[in-house]
């Protein structure tokens, strides 16, 4: 009985410790899973990693395994904006399109190298915080479906995602 008592206490202590061991942040600060799912076209798995005391983090949203469509939102705080921001922009292959009305500044492009090569990128900043949005989806590059879009007609939905992220960073 005494041993069982200790066992119970140990189990209780473990149960208490479990939440503390879990990632500090389970919810993406800049976009919820429902919105990411709405963008990618179905229910998504969400993961938040690399959370820093500054509130920087990376959110990964993944549509069902069969589709392969993913959305990644990475936010970093720059110590020296003027010097560091061009480095982020360098992830673009040529042909980056400047986006009006997203953060302080933003561009849309296709990733030029690395694992995300060919993915759609939107890179921008709000003050000293840079956001890099990586979209991998089979519909990238298709023309917009809506006839009434007035801004950059290349990828309005992606811009909407970027706007959500930048809006949360203001």
């Amino acid at each position: 009985v005494k041993r069982a008592h200790w066992l119970l206490l140990a189990l209780f202590a473990m149960a208490c410790a479990v939440p503390a061991a879990c990632p500090a942040q389970a919810v993406c600060p800049w976009m919820n899973a429902a919105t990411a799912g709405g963008f990618l076209g179905g229910d998504v798995d969400a993961a938040v990693t690399g959370v820093t005391p500054d509130g920087d983090a990376t959110c990964d949203f993944k549509l069902g395994a069969a589709s392969g469509s993913t959305l990644r939102i990475a936010v970093h705080t720059m110590a020296h904006t003027q010097q560091e921001f061009p480095g982020y922009l360098a992830q673009c292959a040529s042909g980056a399109v400047a986006l009006k009305g997203i953060g302080n500044e933003a561009v849309r492009c296709l990733a030029g190298s690395g694992a995300s090569k060919g993915s759609e990128l939107i890179i921008g900043r709000v003050r000293e915080r840079v956001f890099v949005i990586t979209i991998r989806a089979e519909w990238i590059g298709r023309p917009p479906t809506s006839p009434t879009k007035t801004r950059n007609p290349m990828s309005d939905d992606s811009e909407n995602v970027a706007e959500q992220v930048a809006g949360s960073l203001f």
């Binding site: 919810v27 919105t35 009006k100 009305g101 709000v126 003050r127 006839p147």
Partner: protein
């Protein structure tokens, strides 16, 4: 016999058979005829009768489907929703409400893209407007994000009841939201405004009642939820119109749902504070024709009359009537949003709007020389001389002439409207400059600006529109509709000045103040537009100045004096006000309001008997003049002439049933006459016009209690307590003013802008001396 019997029988049988056959045939024939007749009747019945049944069935089915889907959605959202402000309450601290009072799926709102397929011009205008960008802009997000981060997202329901109703009613404003926010970029989409079924009150904070969006009604007028095929709309345009248009949308009360805001206790944990009241300002203006006490009169003009002016549609627009379409740009003062998004057309239209309409009048009215009480006025109509080396005070009157609300309205802690005054000599050298933009883009701290300074409990300025921390307002230099303000600029003409001195006063506007733009973007943002709303320049000769011709936009001299009088009145300078109004009646002896103004000033000065003469003279000229009657009633009250007082006020209300002032005063009169029922009626009518009136709350609390209506009395009493000014709040303002001498001067109704060092006990005020250096270029 048998044979005969047989024959008879056979014959009878035959006859019977024939008869039977005949009956069958006839019956058959008849049946056929009837069938064919019925068929032919049915065939020629109007088709709608048949369709009615199927329509009704289809509508019922859609309603059932929508209800079922909504119930499921609502239950799903409710599981994780933070009902912080009471079970079942989805929008507090905002006032947004929805038919059915449960969460409404965001996708029940047909998208703007859907509407834009046919309404191309409306879509084009709306996309660039403030309404479509009501949520997503950095200018809004910066403030609301602070609220979410510091107090919690649930508090943002207060702001988003107007800025993002789809999110609030959809249950998106909660921790761990399960709502897809893809709709955010459309802000107030077409079907938010066009689904509002009624305005619950004129309390604001989103006091609308949203219906389940519908773009069609069935033939019985039942709203059919959701989208329908285009062909169906095109086949029944009248039913489309019934679903999306209501007479309510054309009323100012519709706008009041959001263009009026308060800070309720659940938001600030303090007390009710009225934030802004564009609707009330309009109602008190001459354009509403509901207020007998305005200084000037005008034709009725609603909010939509100015902000939704009709013009030719450039694109296809089925909503056009006679070739014109009511603007869905809602052009007003916001240049920041179109500038940020690159909506050049909207920016141009906004600037055009701000400069049009003869909204403001700038009058370089008079000059006063140092150590001389004589006022040279009105400039242009009076000859005078000027000498080099003289110190002069230029008395500038800014009239809010044709704006239906205050200058500047609403969020005046973020907006920046100010007077830029300059004096230059004949070589172009600036002698004096006030209201300039500094190198860092910020406005000269000593500018006369039409802004305010809300403060918190530390006496600090409430930056970033953190309205939930506001406890007091240190100053508010707004100019209400129809009123004027006098601004004094003092400077010394250089001793060596020759030729002419040019003086210019401009009213400038920037959306938004530089320090807020810096908070949003950091310091490295482009310069946001500054728009000159109105200006006036006069050239003064060193030497003799003859009378000159007025410019086309100049007011007539009687009106210039009148505006000066109004300014003096608002600056509590009663003797000077009476002098100015006396000039008015001298120039316009037929102008009843001139005499009323003298009476009104005497009342403000508490010289009630002196007021009588002016008011009676006004009534002699205009026997039923409501404005004069109203003020005379106040004089009669003071004199103890209760019956005359009531009679005058009744006449005012007969002409202006929505006059809040007359209702309030008549309520008080009845109360004093011990006529509780009559008093109650007046205060209830007043409350229907202005739900915040303190006198109504206070008196109704007393009256209801006496009538035994304890619950209603308690309710009124509670509202009085929360709405009345916290007597401790002004101390926060004093803290702020002590720390900010430049604003402290602005908070005094009567003040002078100068580059002359102030002296006190013979010592030079160093802060003023600094201003000399910074203020003169």
């Amino acid at each position: 016999m048998q044979q005969k019997d047989h024959c008879t029988k056979s014959k009878a049988e035959r006859i019977l058979r024939i008869a039977q056959d005949s009956i069958v045939v006839r019956a058959g024939y008849s049946l056929l005829v009837v069938t064919l007749s019925v068929a032919s009747v049915i065939a020629f019945l109007p088709k709608t009768k048949i369709q009615a049944h199927s329509d009704e069935t289809a509508t019922q089915q859609k309603l059932v489907d929508q209800d079922t889907a909504r119930k499921q959605y609502s239950e799903h959202v409710a599981k994780s929703y933070n009902f912080a402000f009471g079970p079942g309450n989805i929008s507090l601290p905002g006032n947004g409400a929805v038919v059915g009072n449960t969460f409404l799926q965001p996708d029940t709102f047909p998208t703007a893209d859907y509407c834009g397929k046919c309404h191309k011009e409306a879509y084009h205008q709306w996309r660039q407007s403030l309404h479509s960008n009501s949520f997503r802009t950095p200018f809004y997000r910066t403030s609301v994000n602070i609220l979410m981060r510091t107090k919690g997202i649930e508090f943002a329901r207060h702001c988003d009841s107007c800025h993002n109703p789809v999110a609030v009613l959809g249950g998106g404003l909660t921790q761990a939201s399960v709502v897809d926010r893809g709709f955010d970029q459309d802000g107030l989409t077409c079907t938010t405004c066009h689904s509002v079924q009624k305005v619950d009150s004129t309390n604001g904070n989103g006091s609308y009642v949203m219906g389940v969006p519908a773009v069609m009604v069935d033939e019985k007028g039942t709203r059919i939820p959701g989208m329908v095929p285009d062909a169906e709309i095109l086949a029944h345009l009248d039913r489309h119109s019934k679903a999306v248009m209501q007479p309510l949308y054309r009323t100012p009360e519709f706008c009041s749902a959001c263009h009026k805001a308060n800070l309720p206790n659940p938001l600030n944990g303090y007390k009710f504070i009225r934030a802004f009241t564009a609707y009330d300002e309009w109602q008190n203006s001459k354009f509403s024709q509901r207020n007998p006490l305005t200084f000037y009169q005008a034709d009725f003009t609603s909010c939509q009359g100015c902000h939704m002016k009709r013009s030719a549609a450039g694109l296809a627009e089925p909503g056009s009537k006679n070739g014109t379409f009511a603007s869905h740009r809602w052009a007003a003062g916001n240049t920041a949003v179109p500038f940020y998004y690159g909506f050049d057309e909207q920016l141009a239209k906004t600037i055009e709007f701000l400069k049009s309409g003869n909204y403001l009048n700038v009058d370089l009215f008079a000059i006063r020389k140092a150590n001389d009480d004589h006022m040279i006025a009105p400039l242009g109509s009076t000859a005078f001389d000027l000498k080099a080396g003289e110190t002069i005070q230029v008395m500038t009157v800014i009239q809010n002439k044709n704006i239906g609300h205050s200058l500047i309205p609403e969020v005046r802690d973020l907006y920046e409207g100010w007077v830029e005054f300059s004096a230059t000599d004949s070589t172009g050298k600036v002698i004096y400059h006030s209201g300039f933009i500094k190198a860092d883009g910020k406005l000269d701290e000593r500018a006369h600006s039409f802004t305010n300074r809300p403060v918190d409990t530390t006496g600090g300025f409430v930056d970033n529109h953190k309205v939930w921390t506001i406890h007091s307002v240190a100053y508010d230099n707004t100019v209400q509709a129809g009123r004027s303000t006098l601004i004094r600029y003092e400077f010394q003409i250089p001793a060596d000045a020759k030729g002419t001195i040019s003086i210019t006063a401009k009213v400038n506007y920037r959306h938004l103040r530089q320090s807020y733009l810096n908070n949003i973007f950091g310091d490295d943002h482009p310069a946001y537009p500054i728009v000159e709303l109105a200006s006036r320049t006069r050239t003064l000769n060193i030497g003799d100045n003859p009378v000159t011709k007025p410019e086309p936009n100049d007011n007539a001299d009687w009106m210039r004096w009148n505006n000066l009088g109004i300014s003096y009145l608002d600056q509590l300078q009663y003797s000077e006000a009476i002098d100015a109004f006396s000039h008015v009646v001298k120039l316009r002896p037929d102008y009843a309001d001139g005499y009323t103004n003298i009476g009104l000033t005497n009342i403000e000065w508490e010289k009630y008997e002196s007021a009588r003469g002016g008011l009676e003279k006004a009534l002699e000229l205009a026997p039923n003049n409501a404005r004069a009657l109203y003020y005379l009633a106040l004089v009669e009250r003071r004199a103890g002439h209760s019956e005359a007082e009531v009679a005058d006020l009744q006449k005012v209300i007969a002409q202006y049933p929505q006059s809040r002032d007359a209702r309030r005063e008549l309520g008080i009169s009845y109360y004093q006459q011990r006529r509780p029922q009559d008093a109650m009626e007046q205060f209830e009518a007043l409350q229907a016009i202005d739900p915040d009136d303190l006198a109504a709350h206070y008196n109704l609390a007393l009256l209801y209690r006496r009538m035994g209506l304890k619950d209603k009395a308690k309710e009124q009493s509670a509202m009085f307590v929360t709405k009345k000014v916290d007597p401790g709040a002004p101390t926060y303002s004093l803290d702020f003013l002590r720390k900010h001498p430049e604003i402290s001067i602005e908070s005094v109704p009567w003040h002078v802008h100068t580059n002359m060092p102030h002296t006190e006990n013979g010592e030079i005020d160093t802060s003023a001396a600094k201003a000399v250096a910074g203020g003169t270029r």
